[in-house]
Subunit: 120 residues, 2 copies
DNA sequence: AGTAAATTACGCACCTTTTCGTAACCAGGA
DNA sequence: TCCTGGTTACGAAAAGGTGCGTAATTTACT
């Protein structure tokens, strides 16, 4: 999803939040400052390439704050920005919706044969 | 994003909503019933294949209702399920958040050099 | 004292996997 | 034969994983 096909804000947010990692990172970061290596430990299946790439995407979007410290070994800290913090409850709401509607979504509806009508 | 790495509902929703089309389709469908060809017209950049694929994904997730009518020419209608309708305001909220926080996200924060401290 | 190794957060190149568009084909009744 | 909605095969392009290189300092060993 490189380019946008509409100029609506929703497509823009989704461009940033799409994929496996953005929301997961949001969740690890909402508990406070994390270093790069912390995030890798938290989720052992991210490759370092993906992790840097996604963190930079979130940073560019203003959701994540990246702070580097001089000295060695290198140290870089990641936090949510205030805006990023405000995003958390919205993502939570999506998760809640998913759980709450599980029965409705996967319930009887799937099994019922849809009305088959003659087109007039 | 074929497989899930966590069992959290958020990753599950994002698996369904990720990408360019799911939220766009949600938006075209929230105005009421649409046929396959309507949706293609609404968004001329979706390929035939992508459209069916995404619609089926949404159908499987219980967000979209697919109804076929017998008679010719063939007719298939797509609607949001009640659950799908409930999703719309949540996506709206994301879009609003994106717009509202634009200044905060892209504002001065980006330009400020971060604190650079000597590691003790 | 002097050398070697480890440390952290990456960037880069290479290669595999996944995704997506194109295009052709299908069904089945008017 | 045309229409709509859909499937399939193929190939190109994009996404993503692996491993190597690197910085400058500390620690570890001899």
């Amino acid at each position: 999803m490189k380019e946008l096909v509409s100029r609506c804000p929703i497509e823009e947010v989704m461009q940033v939040l799409s994929g496996r990692w953005p929301t997961l990172l949001l969740y690890y970061l909402k508990d406070g400052t994390k270093r790069f290596s912390d995030l890798r430990r938290d989720n052992p299946t991210v490759s370092h390439k993906m992790l840097t790439q996604e963190l930079r995407k979130l940073e560019k979007a203003g959701i994540v704050q990246r702070t580097t410290f001089e000295g060695y070994p290198l140290r870089v800290e990641y936090d949510l920005t205030p805006a990023g913090l405000g995003l958390v409850p919205l993502i939570d709401a999506l998760g809640d919706w998913w759980e709450e509607t599980e029965d409705a979504r996967l319930g009887t509806g799937r099994l019922i044969e849809r009305a088959v009508q003659a087109s007039t």
